[in-house]
Subunit: 302 residues, 2 copies
């Protein structure tokens, strides 16, 4: 058995997995890493999964996400690329008896003449889980506030790139001059405005393309709801076009929350790229099990 | 003679020019367009230049900038590209006896399969002024909150592109996750961090490149002041590299505020592009005189 905890900045989610990896119980909490001081983590874990541990005292607990960042329970560091489950297992940090934090991952690439570092924390587990589901993936897209694109080969993560797409969308839609030209979020359809944005984002320098949101309003007279979809399309289109052109002819996995995955799938369709959708919760749990297994924590036959 | 007023969102600046175009008097006010309702503009103008008009009752007054936007004194519209002084003169809107607002400019280009509009208001005057100083410029850079790059030929503006560089810098440095990794603005030198940023911004998708500010801090341990300069370099580098590559082998004019022009000149130097610096106040005044002359408002021999 295994207790798996995805512990982010604003919340924590926990699962009790049986020996077959099936979810027996689940729990969640608003006690995110961002709201806790270092000495409050043990009690927060007890509140989240204490009852499970009382019933199953020897079950190992794996934590991943911002809980392992500076300012979290303990800094779990970053493993380098390439990495797989064994590399992450070697980097586990035990913070209490039977409680271990999965490290993040880092990489280094060259931009022109400059070294550029990149980091992730939490996604490294989902990558392993995605590979456990589809072992021939060569690229994985993890949309979000800070989207990741990961190059994969034979069960390992070779390299990755972060795009600040989600955070930029929020800043521009809520805080910038463009906020006057976009409407409230809407669940209903908005025609082709998103795809129009993808087309502009893939073909135009993005810091210029986003100004098109304002001109659609000021001289185009287009409705605010469409302009919000257009802005989303520009930023996602910029991201996916760059990521796909950096590694063409790949088998792409797409792993994230439902509504965001739907938008990325639409953007990738504009680019004629095929994707395999991967459930993010399932990927998290498969990834935790892969790390636990590599660390010899599941030896009781699971 | 001419009274020239550059009336923006947050302030207004006015000059009394003699028949030779020399500045006789200058005045400024915090009564920007953004803080005035429509019926308050006449009194605000009177407060700014009423004394000059009392002394010189027949001197024409030209206003440019956001005063002519929707929500300003009166909407002065946008002329299309290409434009020169005659086109702007035809678009003047008289809002009070002898008081005229210069129109903005708009353009339309194609991004992939999509039409993309662009607009400017205020810069159109500076463009004419820059051409009055250097008539063989083929490209003009106007750095700012919403930077403009203008394609020029034989005294006319052919087309232009807006980059939201300045606004993005403010949002990212003050409101985003990157704000934790950049220091306060500093007047002192910061080594090559700006040039390093230009190198990354010219070679990397910009929504990815900016995340390098965080990794310089989190895993690189680089000081906050350098990271601020690096962020500036990434955004300006992205802009100038795209603008220069869109129109290589051009004679570039650079017109804006002192500290920003210095950064753009450094970025353009990284790209081996030569520039002619053009004083922004002189360009504004030369531009107003060109429009006034084309409109027949300077007929008394100036």
């Amino acid at each position: 058995m295994l207790i798996s905890v995805d512990w982010g900045t604003t919340n924590a989610r926990a699962w009790l997995l049986d020996d077959a990896g099936e979810v027996r119980l689940r729990a969640s909490s608003k006690a995110g890493m961002g709201g806790l001081s270092q000495d409050e983590f043990p009690a927060a874990l007890e509140a989240l999964v204490g009852a499970w541990r009382a019933d199953h005292p020897d079950v190992p607990v794996l934590l991943s996400g911002m809980v392992g960042a500076k300012g979290g329970w303990a800094e779990a560091g970053y493993v380098g690329c390439p990495f797989d489950a064994n590399v992450l297992a070697e980097g586990l940090v035990e913070v209490a008896p039977g409680v271990r934090i999965v490290p993040g991952a880092k990489t280094l690439r060259t931009a022109g003449t400059q070294p550029v570092r990149d980091v992730m924390r939490g996604e490294e587990v989902q990558i392993l889980g995605a590979l456990a589901q589809e072992d021939d993936l060569t690229q994985l897209s993890l949309p979000g506030t800070h989207s990741k694109w990961v190059a994969l080969s034979r069960g390992r993560a070779l390299d990755f790139t972060t795009y600040m797409t989600g955070e930029l969308f929020s800043l521009l839609a809520e805080e910038s001059i463009l906020s006057r030209s976009v409407g409230e979020p809407a669940a209903t359809a908005f025609g082709t405005a998103f795809e129009d944005g993808v087309e502009v984002g893939r073909t135009t320098p993005v810091t210029s393309a986003i100004f098109g949101v304002r001109t659609r309003d000021v001289v185009g007279g287009l409705p605010a709801r469409q302009n919000r979809a257009f802005l989303s399309g520009v930023l996602i289109g910029h991201e996916v076009a760059n990521a796909v052109s950096a590694a063409p002819f790949t088998k792409i996995g797409l792993c994230g929350q439902g509504s965001l995955v739907a938008l990325y799938a639409r953007a990738l369709k504009v680019l004629d790229a095929d994707v395999v959708k991967i459930d993010v919760e399932a990927a998290t749990l498969r990834g935790h099990r892969a790390v636990a297994s590599a660390a010899g924590l599941l030896e009781s036959g699971s």
